[in-house]
């Protein structure tokens, strides 16, 4: 127990770093993912192809490999940034593909009449997407978006292997320093993650049922 109570500041540092990393990456990945979803549903073939290629490539690549490209390849072309920024880039690039697919499933779920109505009053593709389709699509995919975000939060743990002092990195460091208290230390770290993921999952499940009944 001493190993935990004596290192509360370390835990707090890890927790804060995880939350900051997750929050920043979530916003960026959702933005990039929405742009990709708009590209994939646009009438312009090259944009569709580029969006599809991005999603298919990133989806089949392990996040660890994405980290490798960001952390080890970018410095090769003289792009040197802090480990934290590298981690934000890697997590964003990877999860944008999954946010894209969630948003796209929402766009496809909005009834065709909505887009037709938007067109018939003379809105362009961009306008009908922005003003009519996306607002409804987002509302429908809030539960899957939360679920992608839970995955994103859990996946920030991989940044531990690439120099970011987030929860898992703190756990590993403390475990190595306190050989006699490895299990309580790591259980403590696990509880920190559960404190974020369980309520979020519960919220997603509740909203999912609400949405299912509402439509």
């Amino acid at each position: 127990m001493d190993a935990i109570t004596g290192n509360l500041d370390q835990y707090w540092l890890g927790f804060r770093t995880t939350v900051e990393l997750a929050a920043l990456s979530s916003v960026l990945a959702l933005t990039l993912g929405t742009v990709l979803a708009a590209m994939r549903s646009s009438p312009v073939p090259p944009l569709r192809a580029a969006g599809t290629a991005y999603v298919e490539i990133v989806r089949n690549t392990p996040l660890t490999v994405v980290f490798f490209f960001v952390v080890f390849v970018l410095p090769q072309i003289d792009i040197g940034l802090s480990f934290f920024v590298f981690a934000v880039i890697a997590v964003t690039v990877y999860h944008a593909a999954f946010f894209c697919e969630a948003v796209r499933s929402g766009i496809n779920a909005v009834s065709a009449g909505q887009a037709e109505a938007a067109r018939s009053i003379g809105l362009t593709f961009g306008q009908s997407l922005r003003l009519v389709v996306l607002p409804q699509a987002f509302r429908m995919v809030i539960p899957p978006l939360i679920n992608v975000d839970i995955a994103l939060i859990k996946n920030t743990s991989i940044a531990a292997a690439f120099g970011t002092p987030e929860l898992t990195a703190v756990g590993t460091r403390l475990a190595n320093a306190n050989g006699d208290a490895v299990i309580p230390i790591l259980v403590g770290i696990g509880l920190c993650y559960l404190a974020i993921t369980l309520p979020a999952g519960w919220l997603a499940g509740r909203l999912e049922r609400r949405v299912a009944f509402a439509t």
Partner: protein, 285 residues
Amino acid sequence: MSAPTLYDVAGPRGRRRIAVGSAVGVLVLAALLGLAVARLASKGAFDAELWKVLTQGDVQRLLGRGLVATLQAAGIAMVLATALGALLAVGRLSPRGWIARPVGAWVELFRGLPLLLLIVFVFLGLPQLGIDVPTRVALIIGLTLYNSAVLGEIFRAGILSLPRGQNEAGMAIGLGRGQALRLILLPQAVRRMLPAVVSQLVTLLKDTSLGFVIGYTELLRNGRSAVEFLGGKYSIPIYTAIAVVYIAVNASLSYTARLLDRSTRRRYGQAAGPTVQRSAVDEAA
């Protein structure tokens, strides 16, 4: 693919606008790509000498051994996770609360934790209890704990997606709960959840790369060793090759799943029913 619902078949003006949009889109994408390529080229990333490293026998053997280790760990974990996942699904569906509730808690617990933390926990924690775990075993146990929880939920969703009448009909002709599950529900549920299961298995395969963190000599770790030995500038060809291998293996897994799905659909027609929608959380994780 769904039909395009956001735009009509374009008339002459629309076609012109799409053509302009295409041109602009291509230009912007080409500019971005060109910028990246120029940056890479100025650092000599496209020198033939750099990429020739991939033709070296040593490097190929190292990466080949890594791929075998990756596939081994993934294969074992897939079998274990599927078996344990089936048990968890059956347990959570049990009408007896004292089985269903603890199993439910177990599933939620392991689904809510990062896989990497589980792997580290097994790797550093079990030796504390006097159990020595090699890196490969730690990786496989971690993968199994996490993925069995996720697969269990997919199985459960598949069984719950069947019309209730199926189970009731089984009961009505005098089958026990287990018999109805085995003979009536599972065969139908399996067809519905196949796509979701396969995409989870793709995720599992990707996640074997976390073995790198605890030092299991899989594909990624061996790639890193090669780069450390050869020098940092070789990171570009080596990591690109590794990414291509992962994408090829995963894409062929997904492709096989699509073929399977189509053939069962042809055989059973629409009776196969809708497939289980997989929550995106599992796919991204």
